[in-house]
Amino acid sequence: MTTMTILEAVRSALAHEMRRDETVMVLGEDVGRLGGVFRATAGLIDEFGGDRVVDMPIAEGAIVGAALGLALSGLRPVAELQFLGFGAQAFHQITQQVARYRYRSQGRFAPALTIRAPFGGGVRTPEMHSDALEALYAHTPGLKVVAPATPGDAKGLLLAAIRDDDPVMVLEPLKGYRLVKGEVPDGEHLVDLGHIRLARQGTHVTLVAWSSAVQLCERAARELEAEGISAAVVDLRSIVPLDVEGLVEAVVATGRCVVVHEAPLTSGFGAEVVSTVQEEAFYDLEAPIVRVTAPDTPYPVPGVEEFFLPDVDRVKRAVRRTVGVAE
């Protein structure tokens, strides 16, 4: 075990996998000499050379589209989108090409590639850098989509994603890159896709989140404890595949549920979580499930993002309402 930030965990996972498997390569904007704008790939070019750690022209469609071609040539590319919001310029390649090539070719061509991208707000970025767009990709059959919240999962899910023969998007928490530290197992550490993590035990209500919203929920849960409310926190980790069984079990255990995400309300992945839980466990619910999300607005400029993002107070208020405590 080593204590690391999420960034360090990502970097160690990439280095580990590139040492283990010589077909693994990294391509993206500024990933080489600079080591990525966040340094997630720092030092990799020195160890693995410019043919395996490739600075690409600024053209996201070509980064993802070429990664597909590289995968078909027998390599196992890990493409980095500098920010998930920039994925709009690769959207057609991700959703119409990468996600569908196995089906289109009836199994002959199966691009095993990983797309890494940081996302999420609260770090005062310019426009397009913070948007939580996970639902767009979750709505794309053929893709798998994971969103780790901890350094351990950042490594374990990334290793599992690279080795998965299906294309996987690994959405990393921008805010947590340097802020969130944790224990990371040394060497081999794989976290199977499709399993929730119970981040915190609790008996009155189950908070469901992924990525940076997990730490938000944990903070809210700690503060609610002082009020006598015991909140469990479920970290979804994997959005596709969704761990329906684990999710439902964790909600049924308390009978109450609050879903928290940074994306806007309408058609956010929270809607899928709520719908799934009520389909599977309606009669075990003690109260309507509540969502705490961003409003249905574009991600705002940094000067007002605190009014956009879910915060601890909003989570706490939602929990109190759910458990029937008067404000």
Binding site: V64, L70, Q93, S105, P241
Partner: protein, 330 residues
Amino acid sequence: MTLDPAERRSALELMKLSRAVDRYAVGLQRQGVFGTFGEARGQEATLVGAAMALDPAVDWMVPQYRELPALVHHGVPLELLFLLYRYLPAGFTVPTGVNALCNQVSLAAQLPHAVGLAWGLALQKKPGVVLAFVGDGGSSEGDFFEACNLAGVTGAPVVVVVQNNGWAISTPTSRQTRASRIADRASGFGIAGRTVDGNDLDAVHEAVLDAVERARSGGGATLVECLTYRAGAHNTNDDPSRYRDPDEHAERERDDPIERLEGVLRAEGAWNDEREREYTASVRARLDAALDWALAQPEPGADGVFDHVYKNPPARLERQRREQLSGGRE
């Protein structure tokens, strides 16, 4: 290196096969046996000339969707393409051992794949050049520019063949670009570029072979623009009478690549009426056999929706499959 007489005769036969498939498939579409079909009519010299510049054993072909004779030359069985035009999932695969990617509906989206594939082969010191087709319409897409630029940057062994056939559905090439030559863009990407008469089999073959050899010897990418003409409709849903000038069409259609090549071969004594009769009869039998095979293939039912979406499908997707097959909810 030019084509020898035997090669040119087989080129003519493949071009005639393509023309026969067009007629046959349009007829079947009108009868409701085939789905939407786009003829290659008028573009056969470009397609066959380019395909014959490749070594199917090591080189890759990356199609758009109007490249039937090129794909057949590269090893894709005709009957499989007939299954494709029945629009059954199994028709969309490419048999193992055939170095061709799938037909591509999104215009120019295949070009970054072609560059990545070529680059990956080079990185792994594997032999092989990648030839990708795109049209004049597709050359306006962002993927065209991104891919050609990346081809220049990486030095990937790739050849992009632009079939400039004058039309993108109803939009003439003059509405795609103000430039007189699409191949002129090559210098902006730092790659080689060349425009040829796409209705001249030998000219196409010579230009593409030159590009393939450049790629094979480490000289990087080439953009080859073949000036040809879409003699047919965009596809069976299209109505060119709404946008095509009949006189201009008649004029363009007169420059037929098959007639051109056939005239030369007849003058050389390599083609005659007897050969024509024999070949026509053999083509008819081949098309009927391919259709019989395609019609005999079983329909996969609901599994055709679910199979091959993932290697390891999510549990909830497998549940959806079971519910679809059983008609009940779990």
